[in-house]
Symmetry: D2
Amino acid sequence: MTSSLIYAKYTSIRARTLQLIEPLSEEDCCVQSMPEMSPVKWHLGHIAWFFETFILQHYEKSFTPFHPAFQTMFSSYNKSGQTHPDPLRGLFTRPSLSIVRDYCRTVDERMAQVLNNNADDRMVNTLTILGMNHERQHQELMLTDIKHLLSRNPLNPCFIVAQDPAPTAPRYPLSSALPPLEWCHFEGGLVEIGYKGEEFSYDNESPRHKQYLLPYQLASRLVTNGEYLQFMKAGGYHNPSFWFSEGWDWIKSHGREHPLYWRGDNGDWQEFSLSGLALLDTSLPVIHISLYEAEAYARWSGARLPTEAEWEHAASQQKIEGCFAENNRFHPSTVVVASKAEPAQLYGDAWEWTQSSYSRYPGYNPAKPNDHEPMSIVWDEAVGEYNSRSMVNQYVLRGGSCVTPRKWIRSSFRNFLPASTSWYFTGIRLARDAT
Amino acid sequence: MTSSLIYAKYTSIRARTLQLIEPLSEEDCCVQSMPEMSPVKWHLGHIAWFFETFILQHYEKSFTPFHPAFQTMFSSYNKSGQTHPDPLRGLFTRPSLSIVRDYCRTVDERMAQVLNNNADDRMVNTLTILGMNHERQHQELMLTDIKHLLSRNPLNPCFIVAQDPAPTAPRYPLSSALPPLEWCHFEGGLVEIGYKGEEFSYDNESPRHKQYLLPYQLASRLVTNGEYLQFMKAGGYHNPSFWFSEGWDWIKSHGREHPLYWRGDNGDWQEFSLSGLALLDTSLPVIHISLYEAEAYARWSGARLPTEAEWEHAASQQKIEGCFAENNRFHPSTVVVASKAEPAQLYGDAWEWTQSSYSRYPGYNPAKPNDHEPMSIVWDEAVGEYNSRSMVNQYVLRGGSCVTPRKWIRSSFRNFLPASTSWYFTGIRLARDAT
Amino acid sequence: MTSSLIYAKYTSIRARTLQLIEPLSEEDCCVQSMPEMSPVKWHLGHIAWFFETFILQHYEKSFTPFHPAFQTMFSSYNKSGQTHPDPLRGLFTRPSLSIVRDYCRTVDERMAQVLNNNADDRMVNTLTILGMNHERQHQELMLTDIKHLLSRNPLNPCFIVAQDPAPTAPRYPLSSALPPLEWCHFEGGLVEIGYKGEEFSYDNESPRHKQYLLPYQLASRLVTNGEYLQFMKAGGYHNPSFWFSEGWDWIKSHGREHPLYWRGDNGDWQEFSLSGLALLDTSLPVIHISLYEAEAYARWSGARLPTEAEWEHAASQQKIEGCFAENNRFHPSTVVVASKAEPAQLYGDAWEWTQSSYSRYPGYNPAKPNDHEPMSIVWDEAVGEYNSRSMVNQYVLRGGSCVTPRKWIRSSFRNFLPASTSWYFTGIRLARDAT
Amino acid sequence: MTSSLIYAKYTSIRARTLQLIEPLSEEDCCVQSMPEMSPVKWHLGHIAWFFETFILQHYEKSFTPFHPAFQTMFSSYNKSGQTHPDPLRGLFTRPSLSIVRDYCRTVDERMAQVLNNNADDRMVNTLTILGMNHERQHQELMLTDIKHLLSRNPLNPCFIVAQDPAPTAPRYPLSSALPPLEWCHFEGGLVEIGYKGEEFSYDNESPRHKQYLLPYQLASRLVTNGEYLQFMKAGGYHNPSFWFSEGWDWIKSHGREHPLYWRGDNGDWQEFSLSGLALLDTSLPVIHISLYEAEAYARWSGARLPTEAEWEHAASQQKIEGCFAENNRFHPSTVVVASKAEPAQLYGDAWEWTQSSYSRYPGYNPAKPNDHEPMSIVWDEAVGEYNSRSMVNQYVLRGGSCVTPRKWIRSSFRNFLPASTSWYFTGIRLARDAT
């Protein structure tokens, strides 16, 4: 890509970022509702900080930071080793949102200059593309985090008006129109997984390598709210034999008895979404499920979760279709067609838990685009959070969700989260051994 | 007081409340920086809620709440027994500040109506006066809480511009101009303490009763930053023999080695105040001191803290002079005159820790203005938080601080806080036995 | 007292200590069931350590410790300021109990020598008497701690065989034979409290001083299990209005719904005692009650707890009678006679909570028997734990319990514990204002 | 195996169990030094409980438990889902050790009877063999747990007298006699792993299945104390770039700066072992290392940890030689011969961390020896803790340690522990990609 093409993309991604936060007040953008989350204003400042720190600082002749304090306030790269987003971020009532917008604007102008002045520098282009992908990730996080914040408000605020009206009466039992869950067969054998192509990918998707798979089957669609309700009615949250020991301890110590954003009781469940509170739609995929819950559901139903190799092998044969963030619905859709022939809802509804822990691929080397360039250490820091420092006690999710930007989705993409995470848009894809 | 006079005062107190928050942004008003604190917006809503709940609800013919959810969102009277301010208050990005201002305005108009319609109802007047005193308390809390919030911000924001410029060079050693600490003698004997008068007081100040005091001496002024620095330099934070065992555990587990809002090190101390960060002025009273620290300082200096009876007996003989919140300085002042003849700085600089635990006065009965009125149960709830539910593991503070409204200050007033509290404007008055 | 008389008492106290632990196995003596408690073996080593550290070390010409490591293993005087008994004490499986018994025996022989050699040294006698009182305190603690340990064992082990057989059928409702609770009247006025006499007392009981008391009434006996059961049946644990806010939080976070050693449910309560598990005897005093529970019971019953001055003023007029530890029953007794004329059960059944926080008496000076002697610093350390370091967030208890040695009981004695303590033998004495 | 052969083995395993605890006092056997551990007495009772619960209860005609309370006191199968060993186990001072020995003896006699009466019952034989393997596991745990208990004792007690005297002077720098670390090459390809054979194995070792491995290299021996010391001297514990983020947080929050049982400082390190405290021997393998530390060491040294497939593929080609528990040294040995030709110390020195999370093998089905037998549900419970309930957030260790019984060691055996575990006998085997 040429520098000017890159900057055009840069501009369009930023426009999208700003469009996403349009419905929010300054107060909404300032508050942090969990230590693991960040305020929207911080996300915005952090996006600008990334470009300022990894590009402007190295490519501007006489670099002066927008504000010296911002270099630490908006940093996520904590040399002292603290990698979780800092709970103090929510205390930053100053700078105001409008100053953070100024910060972004100033960085944009300077980025235009730098890209223009270094049109032939492969590194600056690579870092800019990395920054754009980084921004897309924060677009998803903004939506994830704002959903959690609004969910804690007794007023049940609405982020966007729902496009499709919520059901006016409970839809129990299962809507008859829903395609039944079927099993798609895959032969396995010695297959290859990992990124194959010339565009941007993270280093954890490489190298492409061989895996030996036994024959397996993947569910034709995601598990629905209605099906999950059956699990609950069957005492799913009260029978330890379905659960990892650790998962059982977790639901007990957290008093968890239903998915994170469900409210109410058996007779009248509601679900909080970015469109506010509405009656639970049993035909939609169940989301905001921890790995513990996904595993328990799978055991209860006599199935299991797929490995990431199974998932990628199957998914790489399918077209990337889904509702994605660009759809502006920010909620998964009801599946319309799903059959033995090919699994549906692989992309753009919910991140699908796999049973695979997040670890290095065979032959993996942390990314270094060019070891001889003086910029390679910058690169190391810039991609640091995507690589090996997280490769313990995290599990791989695949596919992307209804708040994931389309460009962030590909069959080889490896998302990863701790097993207890349920504030992310996560769902359940069942698998089983072919017998 | 007539109803119209009451409403005039009501209006003027509210004007002051709104004036106080003038320098703050919507973001500043929304965030909660500690579980024990509340956002300014919550304080504002809670002030309106008090009048709505305890007066409008009972005196309006066809009462409709401003918003049903506000009845719990802005309540501090948690029937389930949770009495600490709820950490969730900081998540209320909705309603916006401007809606909460509307809430206040609407309640004001309805209060005017109710007061007018019930001019002869002693109870409605009494409750309104209670509500006004409640509002004054929250004026102080707003300043206390906003100071903490701003103190956590790396930008060291300034709430108000300091009236007196901060010292431009460190003022060590002790400014020679400062009156030396002397000891004022009191004979004691069988004295009386407790509220005496006809105006508003809390029930915990009654009944006025006898106490037998041995001869004692009270320091002529508050302990200064400079004196406290001597304690620190003498290893005060590193010698357990000065400390309550519990206090020693507390400073160790909290890593406390200096007063809460001090920054820096021995050679160059700074203090954060509502005017931002400035060099420490050694002539000013030391503030934001826990009871543990006050006690340790007193032991180190060979003195002790006064009892509340000693304090009140001595202070009731002095005029109420000080800098108070109305001064708009929000920081204590340097003492100018202090002598054996009479103790200075008793009122309006810093709440002074006593060694007395907060407990019921002999003969105390929880307030009931009129047991036969149907409103007495309302009264019980309205004053509930000032009375006996807090009478364990809290210590009495006397005098009032530079963020206390003048009208809230009197010699019999009993403030009370846990021994570990340092975010309040607290200081040290020494005492000793007369020998 | 002469040295030889002192040593005779020393010997008899030690005999009692060893008699008390006779029923215990080595395993029973080794384990620590709560961080606030100590194993019996540690108590024993600590008793010897006290004499070794504060006397032998200073009076033996060529002092060699029994074992260098014991000087810290059995110390409670943690210079680093850690004053709670160390949870690691329960890990000391070595030295064995028999070696700790050797330690005691050796110290005894050396104490005999030192007392003999220093017959005229007032200090050595004073310190020995202090050590003997210290040992009596640990006799009580051994019984308290072993009760807790055995209570956690599913086998409900019996420490001693009950002298009076437990009731074979539940005794509900209240046994008619029990004297009804009546109110004993006291005029109060300007009274004196504090230790008066020539024998041993702790410095916190001095100086004797004046207190002004309003007329008051004290309950004629302790609150019984049966009465406490009424409180529970009336929803006592479910109505926050009876509780200190802090007490309410405590019962909720600890899931407390009945006294510590009660088991079972409404229809069939049992109580665990040092004689094992038996049906609850409703005529016995309720024990193992936190201050929170005592206060809630008092409010529910329309009364209050006494102040320590009220208690001492009333109790100093009564004979010291009770069941004490020497009785070897280790459980309070049913009251037989109690009337308006004089309160019963003041001594030797249960420590009685007062509403008074533990603080220095007016004119109090930490004990120094003789400031000019070089031993005064030893004295300071030896009595350190009884004096002012604990004077925050603790409440005074009076009277002594059924596990308290008779010699430890006097009207001026001030025991003190945190408000949440229920593993001690604590009970409820009601008081009220005389109207 | 015939019943009588099985019972002979049963007897010999029990003899070994009892021999192991010979050096311990009753007190040593009673105390629990960490929530994750159990007292030796509990292990012993639990061993008997296993046979009583899963065999006697089902095969004895008129089964009566030895003591009804023991059925829960010695159970690890907590239906309520609490799977960590209960911290209350350390409070069981009763039953005494001698009663628990009686419990074992009684169960032995009854087992002899049952085995004799059911000589042809395949299930009873299978369950007995399972119980014997279960007992071997607890032999290892007893040694692990007693090491931790003794390590917390200031007397540094010795469990056994060391066979080889500890070095009398520090052995820094690296002993020249030690074979240098070399790299053994393996071609990989499509290999098979998993249990192959006819003897006892756990279900998690099955089914044997194909894995595709890139060419790789394995270190010729374990990492030594001396090498680990280099890592420490190079600032290993102070540089976050070597650590998983989670590992960095862990060492910081636990104040970890060296292996668990090391004491002292840079100039004079000592190591606590079951032979007491001795100067650190730099030629011995480093043990008691968490996965976090193993990974950090590997990164610092430019290598990585092996996968479990790599380890098993390499190890299955080697003879099983090592020092094992039978050696009665309970400490790893210095390697004598190690070369490129074949890796040494694979078995019987230290459990070797792999980078593989513990998860189900492809085609895995939880063990059911015979679905049609009524005993299959018993089997499920009996093996429950070895199978899938633990398959999250645990990492696989291979090889066995110096406290592992020889019979428990095989190339396919999968041990698993949380990444933070360091109280187990764990060590570091390096691996790297063949380039």
